[in-house]
């Protein structure tokens, strides 16, 4: 088994992620229950969207203490590939695997719609199929996607090219007008300094087939597979 999709109580995009890896990308994938502690055999781990633990207290704040999280931290520490999508991103933030935090959307609404994001950094294992500045049409669905980090943290993200995706217009203009949730600097996705952990609010698993209106998210998974292939991690 190569890809793993973590299932927390309250995850609801786990099956979509599983389906995309298995049936669209035709790669081996297995569910990882949040109490599992053995991650051997996995090369890529996806923390899916949803409402883990009912989003109680703060989004992701309780899931991050699930038994599996300690092992995901070890996996990430060793360079394993981790993608957190939506609630998965929120969990990675709470767990300290990515810097920053999510606030409630500035408009106080749950937003569920297609948006455009710009590929700020295509020199990553998650975005090598995209061109620099390529605009992707991809859906968001969240109430807490208002990314926040202090000024030093933002500076560091910029200096290390850790900002992977920013909200933009259809033509790639990044401005507050095209910021759906108030996220600082229009940030839609970031990675860690080492470049092996990605968190993003938009849902690539919901935009991996043209039948769903956009296939722009497909290439995130495809990029990871290409990278893993090149690293000869696949058996």
């Amino acid at each position: 088994m190569k890809f793993g999709v973590v299932v927390f109580p309250g995850s609801n995009c786990d099956q979509d992620c599983f389906y995309v890896i298995k049936d669209v990308l035709k790669r081996p994938v297995k569910y990882i229950w949040h109490e599992d502690t053995d991650l051997s055999g996995f090369d890529g781990i996806i923390l899916p969207g949803g409402f883990s633990y009912g989003d109680y207290l703060r989004t992701g704040s309780i899931a991050r203490f699930s038994p599996v999280m300690k092992h995901i931290a070890d996996f990430a520490e060793k360079g394993g590939t981790v993608i957190g999508i939506c609630n998965g991103f929120q969990i990675l933030l709470e767990a300290g695997l990515l810097p920053g935090v999510m606030l409630r959307n500035r408009g106080l609404h749950f937003i569920c719609k297609h948006v455009y994001i710009k590929t700020e950094n295509n020199h990553t294992r998650f975005t090598n199929f995209y061109n620099k500045d390529q605009t992707l049409r991809i859906p968001i669905a969240h109430n807490e996607g208002n990314f926040y980090i202090d000024a030093n943290g933002l500076e560091e993200l910029r200096n290390n090219n850790q900002i992977v995706f920013r909200y933009c217009s259809a033509t790639g203009e990044v401005s507050d007008r095209y910021n759906p949730n108030g996220a600082l600097d229009n940030i839609a996705g970031i990675m860690n300094k080492k470049g092996n952990v990605l968190g993003m609010m938009p849902h690539p698993e919901r935009s991996s087939e043209s039948e769903l209106g956009s296939r722009d998210g497909y290439f995130i998974f495809k990029s990871v597979i290409k990278w893993l292939d090149a690293e000869k991690i696949w058996l």
Partner: protein, 84 residues
Amino acid sequence: MLKAEIYITLKKTVSDPQGLTVKHALESLGYKDLADVRMGKMVVIKLNYEDKNRAEKKINEMCKKLLANPIIEDYHFKIEKEGA
């Protein structure tokens, strides 16, 4: 038994759209002289012991570990004897 009341609030530097919305609502009800409205959370925890020093230490730990996110939130608490 001890009772701890923990107040968790957004840091002053963090915008609070919920507070702002409530402020607008209050203003539309005629309360025009409001400087600011901030929303927060209160957590009540009852402890099965009487040692206040121990309680303070433990509540602090709980806030740091789980209850508050230090990037955006401040917390304070009071601990008192819970009546029999």
